[in-house]
Protein backbone atom coordinates (compact mmCIF):
# COMPACT_ATOMS: atom_id res chain seq x y z
CA UNK A 1 0.00 0.00 0.00
CA UNK A 2 1.46 3.28 -1.06
CA UNK A 3 1.67 6.26 1.30
CA UNK A 4 -0.58 8.31 -0.96
CA UNK A 5 -3.23 5.59 -0.84
CA UNK A 6 -3.05 5.51 2.96
CA UNK A 7 -3.26 9.29 3.04
CA UNK A 8 -6.32 9.30 0.90
CA UNK A 9 -7.97 6.70 3.19
CA UNK A 10 -7.00 8.87 6.14
CA UNK A 11 -8.57 11.98 4.58
CA UNK A 12 -11.72 10.03 3.76
CA UNK A 13 -11.93 8.90 7.36
CA UNK A 14 -11.34 12.42 8.60
CA UNK A 15 -14.13 13.83 6.44
CA UNK A 16 -16.57 11.24 7.76
CA UNK A 17 -15.32 12.02 11.25
CA UNK A 18 -15.81 15.76 11.07
CA UNK A 19 -19.31 15.42 9.64
CA UNK A 20 -20.17 13.05 12.43
CA UNK A 21 -18.68 15.40 14.97
CA UNK A 22 -20.86 18.28 13.74
CA UNK A 23 -23.94 16.12 14.23
CA UNK A 24 -22.90 14.32 17.39
CA UNK A 25 -21.73 17.49 19.16
CA UNK A 26 -25.32 18.74 19.43
CA UNK A 27 -26.51 15.35 20.64
CA UNK A 28 -23.79 15.26 23.25
CA UNK A 29 -24.47 18.85 24.33
CA UNK A 30 -28.15 18.19 25.02
CA UNK A 31 -27.40 15.00 26.85
CA UNK A 32 -24.61 16.60 28.85
CA UNK A 33 -26.69 19.55 30.02
CA UNK A 34 -30.26 18.31 30.13
CA UNK A 35 -29.68 14.57 30.46
CA UNK A 36 -32.10 13.99 27.62
CA UNK A 37 -31.30 11.49 24.89
CA UNK A 38 -32.71 13.07 21.76
CA UNK A 39 -33.29 10.40 19.13
CA UNK A 40 -34.85 13.06 16.91
CA UNK A 41 -31.46 14.77 16.53
CA UNK A 42 -30.94 12.86 13.27
CA UNK A 43 -34.30 14.16 12.09
CA UNK A 44 -33.14 17.73 12.68
CA UNK A 45 -30.11 16.87 10.55
CA UNK A 46 -32.33 15.53 7.79
CA UNK A 47 -34.54 18.63 7.93
CA UNK A 48 -31.42 20.78 7.65
CA UNK A 49 -30.58 18.99 4.40
CA UNK A 50 -34.10 19.34 2.97
CA UNK A 51 -34.39 22.97 4.02
CA UNK A 52 -31.02 23.75 2.45
CA UNK A 53 -32.20 22.18 -0.80
CA UNK A 54 -35.46 24.12 -0.60
CA UNK A 55 -33.67 27.39 0.13
CA UNK A 56 -31.34 26.86 -2.85
CA UNK A 57 -34.42 26.33 -5.05
CA UNK A 58 -35.95 29.56 -3.85
CA UNK A 59 -32.83 31.68 -3.82
CA UNK A 60 -31.06 30.51 -6.95
CA UNK A 61 -32.86 27.83 -8.92
CA UNK A 62 -29.91 27.76 -11.30
CA UNK A 63 -27.43 26.96 -8.54
CA UNK A 64 -25.43 29.14 -6.17
CA UNK A 65 -26.56 30.82 -3.00
CA UNK A 66 -25.40 27.77 -1.09
CA UNK A 67 -23.95 29.51 1.96
CA UNK A 68 -27.00 31.65 2.53
CA UNK A 69 -29.20 28.58 2.04
CA UNK A 70 -27.14 26.60 4.57
CA UNK A 71 -27.43 29.39 7.11
CA UNK A 72 -31.20 29.69 6.57
CA UNK A 73 -31.58 25.93 6.95
CA UNK A 74 -29.57 25.87 10.18
CA UNK A 75 -31.55 28.81 11.59
CA UNK A 76 -34.83 27.20 10.53
CA UNK A 77 -33.95 23.96 12.31
CA UNK A 78 -32.78 25.97 15.33
CA UNK A 79 -36.19 27.64 15.52
CA UNK A 80 -37.89 24.28 15.18
CA UNK A 81 -35.67 23.12 18.05
CA UNK A 82 -36.86 25.99 20.23
CA UNK A 83 -40.49 25.14 19.50
CA UNK A 84 -40.14 21.43 20.24
CA UNK A 85 -38.21 22.19 23.44
CA UNK A 86 -40.78 24.68 24.69
CA UNK A 87 -43.76 22.52 23.85
CA UNK A 88 -42.59 18.94 24.34
CA UNK A 89 -39.13 18.39 25.78
CA UNK A 90 -39.82 20.58 28.79
CA UNK A 91 -42.17 17.91 30.08
CA UNK A 92 -39.46 15.25 29.81
CA UNK A 93 -36.69 16.64 32.01
CA UNK A 94 -36.13 14.48 35.03
CA UNK A 95 -38.50 11.79 33.72
CA UNK A 96 -37.45 8.22 33.16
CA UNK A 97 -35.35 7.55 30.07
CA UNK A 98 -38.14 5.36 28.72
CA UNK A 99 -40.45 8.37 28.26
CA UNK A 100 -37.68 10.33 26.58
CA UNK A 101 -36.91 7.48 24.20
CA UNK A 102 -40.56 6.92 23.35
CA UNK A 103 -41.23 10.59 22.76
CA UNK A 104 -38.13 11.31 20.71
CA UNK A 105 -38.71 8.13 18.70
CA UNK A 106 -42.24 9.30 17.96
CA UNK A 107 -40.76 12.60 16.82
CA UNK A 108 -38.44 10.67 14.45
CA UNK A 109 -41.48 9.00 12.84
CA UNK A 110 -43.50 12.21 12.60
CA UNK A 111 -40.67 14.30 11.14
CA UNK A 112 -39.67 11.49 8.77
CA UNK A 113 -43.20 11.30 7.37
CA UNK A 114 -43.52 15.07 7.25
CA UNK A 115 -40.36 15.23 5.12
CA UNK A 116 -41.72 12.57 2.76
CA UNK A 117 -44.99 14.45 2.53
CA UNK A 118 -43.30 17.79 1.78
CA UNK A 119 -40.41 16.73 -0.43
CA UNK A 120 -41.38 13.30 -1.75
CA UNK A 121 -39.22 10.18 -1.75
CA UNK A 122 -36.94 11.00 -4.69
CA UNK A 123 -33.27 11.71 -4.17
CA UNK A 124 -32.47 15.40 -4.12
CA UNK A 125 -29.07 16.96 -4.54
CA UNK A 126 -27.37 20.31 -4.19
CA UNK A 127 -24.33 21.34 -6.21
CA UNK A 128 -21.05 22.21 -4.54
CA UNK A 129 -20.61 25.95 -3.94
CA UNK A 130 -18.49 27.29 -6.82
CA UNK A 131 -15.74 28.67 -4.57
CA UNK A 132 -15.02 25.16 -3.23
CA UNK A 133 -15.77 23.19 -6.39
CA UNK A 134 -12.11 22.61 -7.27
CA UNK A 135 -9.58 20.29 -5.76
CA UNK A 136 -5.98 20.36 -4.57
CA UNK A 137 -3.16 17.83 -4.81
CA UNK A 138 -1.61 16.72 -1.55
CA UNK A 139 0.87 13.83 -1.20
CA UNK A 140 0.06 12.70 -4.69
CA UNK A 141 -3.66 12.53 -4.00
CA UNK A 142 -6.50 14.68 -5.25
CA UNK A 143 -8.54 16.20 -2.44
CA UNK A 144 -11.73 18.11 -3.24
CA UNK A 145 -11.66 21.57 -1.70
CA UNK A 146 -15.07 20.99 -0.16
CA UNK A 147 -13.90 18.03 1.93
CA UNK A 148 -10.88 20.07 3.02
CA UNK A 149 -13.34 22.69 4.18
CA UNK A 150 -15.29 20.10 6.19
CA UNK A 151 -12.08 18.78 7.74
CA UNK A 152 -11.24 22.33 8.83
CA UNK A 153 -14.68 23.29 10.12
CA UNK A 154 -14.91 20.32 12.53
CA UNK A 155 -12.02 21.36 14.78
CA UNK A 156 -13.07 25.01 14.40
CA UNK A 157 -16.52 24.26 15.79
CA UNK A 158 -15.10 22.00 18.50
CA UNK A 159 -12.74 24.76 19.60
CA UNK A 160 -15.48 27.42 19.48
CA UNK A 161 -17.84 25.30 21.57
CA UNK A 162 -15.06 24.59 24.04
CA UNK A 163 -14.23 28.30 24.34
CA UNK A 164 -17.89 29.12 24.76
CA UNK A 165 -18.39 26.58 27.54
CA UNK A 166 -15.16 27.01 29.45
CA UNK A 167 -14.25 30.67 29.02
CA UNK A 168 -17.44 32.71 28.93
CA UNK A 169 -19.98 33.70 31.56
CA UNK A 170 -22.76 32.04 29.58
CA UNK A 171 -20.70 28.85 29.42
CA UNK A 172 -20.17 28.88 33.18
CA UNK A 173 -23.94 29.18 33.64
CA UNK A 174 -24.47 26.21 31.34
CA UNK A 175 -21.95 24.12 33.26
CA UNK A 176 -23.56 25.11 36.56
CA UNK A 177 -26.98 24.12 35.16
CA UNK A 178 -25.48 20.78 34.19
CA UNK A 179 -24.22 20.20 37.75
CA UNK A 180 -27.18 21.38 39.81
CA UNK A 181 -30.19 22.81 38.03
CA UNK A 182 -32.24 23.47 41.16
CA UNK A 183 -29.45 25.30 42.96
CA UNK A 184 -28.79 27.54 39.97
CA UNK A 185 -32.50 28.32 39.81
CA UNK A 186 -32.51 29.23 43.52
CA UNK A 187 -29.57 31.58 42.86
CA UNK A 188 -31.75 33.51 40.42
CA UNK A 189 -30.98 32.05 36.99
CA UNK A 190 -33.78 31.28 34.58
CA UNK A 191 -32.64 27.73 33.92
CA UNK A 192 -35.56 27.02 31.60
CA UNK A 193 -34.24 29.75 29.27
CA UNK A 194 -30.73 28.27 29.44
CA UNK A 195 -32.15 24.88 28.46
CA UNK A 196 -34.04 26.38 25.53
CA UNK A 197 -30.89 28.14 24.33
CA UNK A 198 -28.83 24.95 24.55
CA UNK A 199 -31.47 23.02 22.68
CA UNK A 200 -31.60 25.71 20.00
CA UNK A 201 -27.81 25.54 19.63
CA UNK A 202 -27.96 21.76 19.36
CA UNK A 203 -30.68 21.88 16.70
CA UNK A 204 -28.80 24.63 14.86
CA UNK A 205 -25.68 22.43 14.70
CA UNK A 206 -27.78 19.49 13.46
CA UNK A 207 -29.39 21.67 10.79
CA UNK A 208 -26.03 23.10 9.77
CA UNK A 209 -24.47 19.68 9.37
CA UNK A 210 -27.48 18.53 7.36
CA UNK A 211 -27.11 21.53 5.06
CA UNK A 212 -23.34 21.08 4.70
CA UNK A 213 -23.63 17.42 3.78
CA UNK A 214 -25.84 18.10 0.73
CA UNK A 215 -23.02 18.84 -1.77
CA UNK A 216 -21.46 15.42 -1.18
CA UNK A 217 -24.44 13.23 -0.31
CA UNK A 218 -27.84 13.07 -1.87
CA UNK A 219 -30.86 13.81 0.28
CA UNK A 220 -33.02 10.74 0.80
CA UNK A 221 -35.69 9.61 3.24
CA UNK A 222 -34.06 7.47 5.92
CA UNK A 223 -30.92 9.58 6.19
CA UNK A 224 -32.18 10.62 9.65
CA UNK A 225 -32.16 7.11 11.10
CA UNK A 226 -28.91 6.18 9.38
CA UNK A 227 -27.08 9.14 10.88
CA UNK A 228 -28.51 8.95 14.39
CA UNK A 229 -27.15 5.42 14.83
CA UNK A 230 -23.68 6.57 13.81
CA UNK A 231 -23.88 9.69 15.97
CA UNK A 232 -24.84 7.54 18.94
CA UNK A 233 -21.90 5.22 18.41
CA UNK A 234 -19.61 8.25 18.37
CA UNK A 235 -21.10 9.71 21.52
CA UNK A 236 -20.95 6.36 23.30
CA UNK A 237 -17.31 5.80 22.30
CA UNK A 238 -16.29 9.28 23.39
CA UNK A 239 -18.36 9.39 26.56
CA UNK A 240 -21.85 10.84 26.94
CA UNK A 241 -21.83 14.58 27.42
CA UNK A 242 -18.12 15.15 26.86
CA UNK A 243 -17.33 17.58 24.04
CA UNK A 244 -13.75 16.42 23.42
CA UNK A 245 -14.88 12.84 23.92
CA UNK A 246 -17.33 13.34 21.07
CA UNK A 247 -14.58 14.93 18.96
CA UNK A 248 -12.07 12.11 19.44
CA UNK A 249 -14.86 9.55 19.26
CA UNK A 250 -15.67 10.91 15.79
CA UNK A 251 -12.04 10.81 14.70
CA UNK A 252 -11.66 7.20 15.89
CA UNK A 253 -14.94 6.21 14.24
CA UNK A 254 -13.96 7.76 10.92
CA UNK A 255 -10.52 6.15 10.84
CA UNK A 256 -11.73 2.73 11.96
CA UNK A 257 -14.41 2.84 9.29
CA UNK A 258 -11.97 4.02 6.63
CA UNK A 259 -9.22 1.51 7.38
CA UNK A 260 -11.59 -1.24 8.51
CA UNK A 261 -12.78 -1.52 4.94
CA UNK A 262 -9.25 -2.52 3.92
CA UNK A 263 -9.14 -5.30 6.49
CA UNK A 264 -12.71 -6.56 6.28
CA UNK A 265 -13.97 -5.50 2.85
CA UNK A 266 -17.73 -5.78 2.70
CA UNK A 267 -18.07 -5.60 6.47
CA UNK A 268 -17.16 -1.95 6.93
CA UNK A 269 -19.57 -1.35 9.79
CA UNK A 270 -18.40 -4.50 11.56
CA UNK A 271 -15.12 -2.94 12.68
CA UNK A 272 -16.97 0.09 14.11
CA UNK A 273 -19.41 -2.01 16.10
CA UNK A 274 -16.57 -4.25 17.27
CA UNK A 275 -14.72 -1.16 18.45
CA UNK A 276 -17.78 0.10 20.30
CA UNK A 277 -18.27 -3.28 21.97
CA UNK A 278 -14.66 -3.37 23.13
CA UNK A 279 -14.82 0.18 24.51
CA UNK A 280 -18.10 -0.51 26.28
CA UNK A 281 -16.60 -3.58 27.94
CA UNK A 282 -13.41 -1.83 29.03
CA UNK A 283 -14.85 1.62 29.79
CA UNK A 284 -18.65 1.51 29.93
CA UNK A 285 -18.77 5.30 30.32
CA UNK A 286 -16.72 5.94 27.15
CA UNK A 287 -13.20 7.22 26.56
CA UNK A 288 -13.65 10.72 28.00
CA UNK A 289 -16.83 10.19 29.99
CA UNK A 290 -17.22 9.56 33.67
CA UNK A 291 -19.06 6.82 35.52
CA UNK A 292 -22.61 8.10 36.03
Amino acid sequence: MSPSFLFSQFMGGLTTAMFLFLIASGLSLVFGVMRVINFAHGSFYMLGAYLAWQAVQWLHPTGGGFWLAALCAALGVGILGVLTERVFFRALYGREELYQLLFTYALVLVLGDAAKFLWGTDQLSVSTPPALAGSVRIFGTTQPLYTMFIVAIGPAIAFTLWLLLSRTGAGRMVRAAQMDREMLDALGANVAAIYTAMFALSAFLAGLSGALVTPIQSIVPGMDVLIIVQAFIVVVIGGMGSLWGTFWGSVIYGQVLSFGILIFPGFSLFSVFALMAVILIVRPWGLFGRPL
Partner: protein, 238 residues
Protein backbone atom coordinates in the same frame (compact mmCIF):
# COMPACT_ATOMS: atom_id res chain seq x y z
CA UNK B 1 -50.11 55.97 59.13
CA UNK B 2 -49.78 52.24 58.93
CA UNK B 3 -46.45 50.56 59.69
CA UNK B 4 -44.64 49.13 56.68
CA UNK B 5 -45.20 45.39 56.29
CA UNK B 6 -42.46 43.12 57.70
CA UNK B 7 -39.76 42.05 55.26
CA UNK B 8 -41.03 38.48 55.33
CA UNK B 9 -44.33 37.29 56.78
CA UNK B 10 -45.37 33.67 56.54
CA UNK B 11 -49.04 33.07 57.26
CA UNK B 12 -50.55 29.65 57.86
CA UNK B 13 -48.09 27.84 55.63
CA UNK B 14 -48.92 24.24 54.73
CA UNK B 15 -46.57 22.07 52.71
CA UNK B 16 -46.26 18.42 51.77
CA UNK B 17 -43.96 16.05 49.92
CA UNK B 18 -46.47 14.09 47.90
CA UNK B 19 -48.94 12.64 50.37
CA UNK B 20 -46.74 13.15 53.38
CA UNK B 21 -47.64 16.43 55.02
CA UNK B 22 -44.82 18.29 56.68
CA UNK B 23 -46.02 21.79 57.63
CA UNK B 24 -49.30 22.44 59.42
CA UNK B 25 -49.93 26.16 59.40
CA UNK B 26 -46.60 27.82 60.13
CA UNK B 27 -46.80 31.58 60.76
CA UNK B 28 -43.77 33.73 61.40
CA UNK B 29 -42.31 37.14 60.65
CA UNK B 30 -38.89 38.54 59.97
CA UNK B 31 -38.26 42.28 60.26
CA UNK B 32 -35.48 44.00 58.36
CA UNK B 33 -32.17 43.77 60.20
CA UNK B 34 -33.25 40.90 62.44
CA UNK B 35 -31.69 37.50 62.87
CA UNK B 36 -34.51 35.04 63.43
CA UNK B 37 -33.91 31.38 64.18
CA UNK B 38 -36.06 28.35 63.46
CA UNK B 39 -35.02 25.91 66.13
CA UNK B 40 -35.92 22.25 66.21
CA UNK B 41 -34.71 18.76 65.64
CA UNK B 42 -34.35 16.93 62.36
CA UNK B 43 -37.56 16.52 60.42
CA UNK B 44 -39.70 19.16 62.15
CA UNK B 45 -40.02 21.22 58.97
CA UNK B 46 -37.23 23.81 59.08
CA UNK B 47 -35.82 22.95 55.67
CA UNK B 48 -39.32 22.54 54.24
CA UNK B 49 -40.22 26.05 55.41
CA UNK B 50 -37.16 27.46 53.66
CA UNK B 51 -37.73 25.46 50.49
CA UNK B 52 -41.34 26.70 50.40
CA UNK B 53 -40.26 30.33 50.73
CA UNK B 54 -37.71 29.80 47.94
CA UNK B 55 -40.31 28.30 45.62
CA UNK B 56 -38.44 24.98 45.53
CA UNK B 57 -41.46 23.28 47.10
CA UNK B 58 -44.72 25.06 46.23
CA UNK B 59 -46.82 25.29 49.40
CA UNK B 60 -50.19 23.54 49.56
CA UNK B 61 -51.71 26.39 51.56
CA UNK B 62 -51.06 29.71 53.23
CA UNK B 63 -49.30 32.89 52.22
CA UNK B 64 -45.68 33.96 51.94
CA UNK B 65 -45.59 37.74 51.96
CA UNK B 66 -42.38 39.41 50.83
CA UNK B 67 -42.65 43.13 51.62
CA UNK B 68 -46.40 42.64 51.49
CA UNK B 69 -46.54 40.78 48.14
CA UNK B 70 -47.62 37.14 48.15
CA UNK B 71 -44.82 35.18 46.53
CA UNK B 72 -46.14 31.69 47.35
CA UNK B 73 -45.68 29.49 44.30
CA UNK B 74 -43.28 31.81 42.47
CA UNK B 75 -40.48 30.11 40.53
CA UNK B 76 -37.22 29.99 42.53
CA UNK B 77 -35.35 32.38 40.25
CA UNK B 78 -38.08 35.00 40.65
CA UNK B 79 -37.89 34.69 44.42
CA UNK B 80 -34.10 35.02 44.26
CA UNK B 81 -34.31 38.08 42.03
CA UNK B 82 -36.83 39.63 44.41
CA UNK B 83 -34.07 39.61 47.03
CA UNK B 84 -34.19 36.34 48.98
CA UNK B 85 -30.96 34.36 49.10
CA UNK B 86 -30.89 30.67 50.02
CA UNK B 87 -27.98 28.74 51.52
CA UNK B 88 -29.06 25.08 51.48
CA UNK B 89 -27.99 22.68 54.19
CA UNK B 90 -26.30 20.25 51.83
CA UNK B 91 -24.22 23.20 50.47
CA UNK B 92 -24.37 22.18 46.84
CA UNK B 93 -21.40 24.09 45.54
CA UNK B 94 -20.91 23.58 41.80
CA UNK B 95 -18.25 20.92 42.26
CA UNK B 96 -16.58 21.21 38.85
CA UNK B 97 -16.42 24.99 38.90
CA UNK B 98 -13.66 26.85 40.68
CA UNK B 99 -14.38 29.03 43.70
CA UNK B 100 -14.22 32.13 41.50
CA UNK B 101 -16.51 30.57 38.90
CA UNK B 102 -19.03 29.62 41.58
CA UNK B 103 -19.14 33.26 42.70
CA UNK B 104 -19.29 34.62 39.16
CA UNK B 105 -22.16 32.32 38.21
CA UNK B 106 -24.12 33.44 41.26
CA UNK B 107 -23.65 37.12 40.40
CA UNK B 108 -24.81 36.49 36.83
CA UNK B 109 -27.75 34.41 38.01
CA UNK B 110 -29.27 36.91 40.42
CA UNK B 111 -28.45 40.08 38.43
CA UNK B 112 -28.75 42.22 41.56
CA UNK B 113 -26.14 44.90 42.07
CA UNK B 114 -25.16 45.98 45.53
CA UNK B 115 -22.33 46.07 47.98
CA UNK B 116 -21.51 42.38 47.66
CA UNK B 117 -18.91 41.99 44.97
CA UNK B 118 -16.29 39.29 44.62
CA UNK B 119 -13.80 41.47 46.48
CA UNK B 120 -16.30 42.10 49.28
CA UNK B 121 -16.96 38.40 49.85
CA UNK B 122 -13.20 37.67 49.72
CA UNK B 123 -12.89 40.29 52.47
CA UNK B 124 -15.42 38.40 54.58
CA UNK B 125 -13.91 34.98 53.81
CA UNK B 126 -10.21 35.58 53.05
CA UNK B 127 -9.60 31.85 52.61
CA UNK B 128 -11.77 31.93 49.47
CA UNK B 129 -9.40 34.39 47.85
CA UNK B 130 -6.53 31.96 48.39
CA UNK B 131 -8.58 29.07 47.05
CA UNK B 132 -10.15 31.00 44.17
CA UNK B 133 -8.75 28.68 41.49
CA UNK B 134 -9.62 25.47 43.29
CA UNK B 135 -12.64 23.47 42.21
CA UNK B 136 -15.59 23.46 44.59
CA UNK B 137 -15.48 19.69 44.89
CA UNK B 138 -11.96 19.81 46.30
CA UNK B 139 -12.79 22.09 49.24
CA UNK B 140 -13.22 20.95 52.83
CA UNK B 141 -16.68 20.98 54.39
CA UNK B 142 -16.05 24.29 56.15
CA UNK B 143 -14.65 25.91 53.01
CA UNK B 144 -17.64 24.68 51.04
CA UNK B 145 -19.97 26.19 53.63
CA UNK B 146 -18.18 29.53 53.35
CA UNK B 147 -18.35 29.34 49.55
CA UNK B 148 -22.08 28.60 49.66
CA UNK B 149 -22.72 31.64 51.85
CA UNK B 150 -20.43 33.82 49.74
CA UNK B 151 -22.11 32.59 46.58
CA UNK B 152 -25.54 33.53 47.86
CA UNK B 153 -24.25 36.95 48.97
CA UNK B 154 -23.16 37.62 45.38
CA UNK B 155 -26.87 38.02 44.59
CA UNK B 156 -27.06 40.87 47.13
CA UNK B 157 -30.05 39.40 48.96
CA UNK B 158 -32.04 41.49 51.42
CA UNK B 159 -32.86 38.34 53.36
CA UNK B 160 -30.54 35.39 53.80
CA UNK B 161 -32.04 31.95 54.45
CA UNK B 162 -29.34 29.91 56.18
CA UNK B 163 -30.24 26.25 56.49
CA UNK B 164 -28.22 24.46 59.19
CA UNK B 165 -24.88 26.09 58.41
CA UNK B 166 -23.11 24.30 61.29
CA UNK B 167 -24.20 20.81 60.31
CA UNK B 168 -21.42 18.28 59.99
CA UNK B 169 -18.62 20.76 60.68
CA UNK B 170 -15.82 20.41 63.26
CA UNK B 171 -16.22 22.60 66.39
CA UNK B 172 -13.36 24.92 65.43
CA UNK B 173 -14.86 25.46 61.99
CA UNK B 174 -18.27 26.12 63.53
CA UNK B 175 -16.70 28.78 65.71
CA UNK B 176 -15.14 30.50 62.69
CA UNK B 177 -18.45 30.33 60.87
CA UNK B 178 -20.26 31.82 63.87
CA UNK B 179 -17.82 34.70 63.71
CA UNK B 180 -18.51 35.19 59.97
CA UNK B 181 -22.28 35.13 60.38
CA UNK B 182 -22.10 37.58 63.29
CA UNK B 183 -20.10 39.88 61.04
CA UNK B 184 -22.82 39.60 58.40
CA UNK B 185 -25.47 40.40 60.97
CA UNK B 186 -23.53 43.45 62.12
CA UNK B 187 -23.38 44.64 58.52
CA UNK B 188 -27.17 44.71 58.56
CA UNK B 189 -27.95 41.53 56.62
CA UNK B 190 -31.33 40.13 57.64
CA UNK B 191 -31.06 36.43 58.43
CA UNK B 192 -33.52 33.59 58.85
CA UNK B 193 -31.54 30.74 60.33
CA UNK B 194 -32.57 27.10 60.71
CA UNK B 195 -30.64 25.20 63.36
CA UNK B 196 -30.63 22.15 65.58
CA UNK B 197 -27.70 23.42 67.61
CA UNK B 198 -29.06 25.47 70.51
CA UNK B 199 -25.77 27.16 71.37
CA UNK B 200 -25.06 28.15 67.79
CA UNK B 201 -28.49 29.62 67.18
CA UNK B 202 -28.81 31.38 70.53
CA UNK B 203 -25.45 33.02 69.97
CA UNK B 204 -26.79 34.64 66.80
CA UNK B 205 -30.54 35.02 67.00
CA UNK B 206 -32.61 37.97 68.16
CA UNK B 207 -35.81 35.97 68.12
CA UNK B 208 -36.53 32.27 68.07
CA UNK B 209 -39.34 30.08 66.78
CA UNK B 210 -39.25 26.53 68.13
CA UNK B 211 -40.70 24.05 65.65
CA UNK B 212 -42.17 20.69 66.47
CA UNK B 213 -43.78 18.30 63.99
CA UNK B 214 -44.55 20.99 61.45
CA UNK B 215 -46.04 23.47 63.93
CA UNK B 216 -44.65 26.38 65.90
CA UNK B 217 -44.45 25.37 69.53
CA UNK B 218 -42.92 28.51 70.95
CA UNK B 219 -42.09 32.00 69.74
CA UNK B 220 -40.12 34.59 71.65
CA UNK B 221 -36.93 36.57 72.09
CA UNK B 222 -33.72 34.56 72.08
CA UNK B 223 -32.72 36.17 75.37
CA UNK B 224 -35.63 34.42 77.08
CA UNK B 225 -34.26 31.02 76.10
CA UNK B 226 -30.70 32.02 76.82
CA UNK B 227 -31.56 32.98 80.40
CA UNK B 228 -34.21 30.44 81.26
CA UNK B 229 -32.61 27.03 81.58
CA UNK B 230 -35.90 25.46 82.59
CA UNK B 231 -37.78 26.76 79.53
CA UNK B 232 -34.94 25.61 77.32
CA UNK B 233 -35.07 22.11 78.77
CA UNK B 234 -38.82 21.92 78.42
CA UNK B 235 -38.77 22.99 74.77
CA UNK B 236 -35.65 21.42 73.46
CA UNK B 237 -34.33 18.56 75.54
CA UNK B 238 -36.79 15.94 74.34
Amino acid sequence: MTAPPPLLAIEGLHAAYGLSRVLFGISLQVEAGECVCLLGRNGVGKTTTMRSVMGLLPPTGGHILWKGTDIAGWAPHRVARAGIGFVPEDRRVFAELTVWENLDVAARAARRDGKWTIDAVYELFPILRELRNRRGGFLSGGEQQMLTIARTLMGNPELLLLDEPSEGLAPLVVEALLHNISALKEQGVTILLAEQGVDFSLALADRVYVLEKGRIRHAGPAAELRNDQELRNRLLSL
